[in-house]
Symmetry: C2
Subunit: 362 residues, 2 copies
Amino acid sequence: MKQRVRNIFNALDQPVDAILLKNGTEPFLDDNFFYITGLIHGLFEGSYAVLFSDGSIDLLTTALEAESAKKTEAALHVYTTKEDREGILKPLIGSLKIIGMNFSGLSHQDFTLLQQLCPSAHFVDVSKSFSSVRLIKDSEELNRIKTACNIADAAMEKIPEFIHEGLHEYELAAEINYLMQNHGAEKPSFDTISSFGKNSAEPHYSHGDATLKKHDFVLCDFGATYQRYASDITRTFVYGSANQKQKDMHETVLRAQNIAFDCIRPGVKATEIHQAVSMFIDSTSFKGCFTHSTGHSLGLAVHDGAGFNQSSDVILKENMVFTVEPGVYIPGFGGVRIEDDILITKNGMERLTKSSQELREI
Amino acid sequence: MKQRVRNIFNALDQPVDAILLKNGTEPFLDDNFFYITGLIHGLFEGSYAVLFSDGSIDLLTTALEAESAKKTEAALHVYTTKEDREGILKPLIGSLKIIGMNFSGLSHQDFTLLQQLCPSAHFVDVSKSFSSVRLIKDSEELNRIKTACNIADAAMEKIPEFIHEGLHEYELAAEINYLMQNHGAEKPSFDTISSFGKNSAEPHYSHGDATLKKHDFVLCDFGATYQRYASDITRTFVYGSANQKQKDMHETVLRAQNIAFDCIRPGVKATEIHQAVSMFIDSTSFKGCFTHSTGHSLGLAVHDGAGFNQSSDVILKENMVFTVEPGVYIPGFGGVRIEDDILITKNGMERLTKSSQELREI
């Protein structure tokens, strides 16, 4: 993990004497805390990490998590009271002049408390350094992401077995989550989307109590969390035989995804991928039906800091991991989305989710 | 929802001209945003609510969530760009002198951005007002919590059917989550705990790949989220026949829970409940084996702002909802915890989770 810390310091806009990360209480946990410690289990609520430019880490936690914390390379400090904790933090950071913090992962209340602890320090936001370094995955991260992708593929493979007339959306979501957990996922990486018929036209719809009818679209968008890392996959099936419009929608989206795949390689701008996909869909009879971005980076967070969209300033590099998820949505009729997770390689890309992309009529 | 907003203003330490809530992006969603809007579905990432002392609400959201937002009583403003949003916020709050914000649910980055929008305003922390008002549940909240409790009970009832030699902890966790979702839960309210044998001695252990052996403890701690509200229940079974030590542990914890139940009524201090439970356990042969607080308030959050612990300043009132969860933990041997959710009534309390509390040997 020392290399990760050094990378964060190397990516800073301005030098800092140390970086202080505070992990809040659920749901305000800071992914960066887990990124630099590599910790797999535990919440570490109210724990602190102090990072130095040589890659060393001082970790402050309570007795509750001390056993897990021993698995890290960090210098471990166990505190029981607020006074204890301040007694440990003071000699570590009390005399420093410039302290980096992750302003986007820290509550304003915690910021104020830390300011009181170091009244003479100047605090600077280092959130951009974390998000840019985290875009490039190391081998340990890639292994976890690949396992998360395999779990999602295994669940997707089984979905057709559960499809039947009258199935409720929430029942299919429960089956998907169950399949992923039984294949080793800690949990779903986000609320599983299982939408039938015209509900599939709403990209942010999760699942409700709609029942499946013949010729409905069945849109399934889900992912697994494995050792804190996420996968994210979408397939759109048809229950029964697909009509021509459904086939055209699916074919268009699949072609759009392949256009993205053909463009993705190191050196290309993230905006270009989105433009290529948008322009293609707008050149078909489904003009205006693609209403979201083409994808997002994936890692400890499902939305891990960058995206294939109009306003991105990211240039693709080797070992970045993104989703590629074009879609076509027709309100009142339905939607098709096909989403895969990809790794950017030296000369192009590799698809990490490997589920069949053909239109399946179940 | 107007009454909820008025209650927040009435509970303030100092008057404010308005309260501004910003809902962040996952995981930084602010429960208070959902408390005052009553919204059940959607994430409302990057949405804002401006609250006034007459109970009125102005809600700023994007087109993505506009349809859902229409279900509230709020004045709705739909924005597309940052400039749009600022153009709506400026006339609402730009000239105000004192603006309340939830410092504990807002990132420091967002605080800084809002400060720039209202450079002449003084911002004060209103988080305590929200947490104290939210402790007292209204009838709509109670209905949702009761349903969440019923779902957890229904899952607990089925657990013995899944118990068999060689079962993995993660498999049982998957079964529990599946049962809850099929009984109408949106999701588990926290990571389901399913710990076998000596793992049950670690209160914060979730689940791993340990397999079930004869005479193991089976500790199951989980809850359902229903319309955003949580339940939280624990039972400890024994696989096969329990030995005397296991029976003694279970009996002690059950007696400790009943001691708490006998003390709970309006007017009693939260600290007294914890003291009564701790003193009882420390008077048995399990002295020192109860290592956490006796319970926590429950609502939109699983840990909803108060607890039965040594440092609480809460005095119990009608319509508060708490967990009561004494435990006894013996490292290397195992642990027993029994947890129920209770509603404080006019003269005492009502148990909302109704699963059998007897020691079950499966």
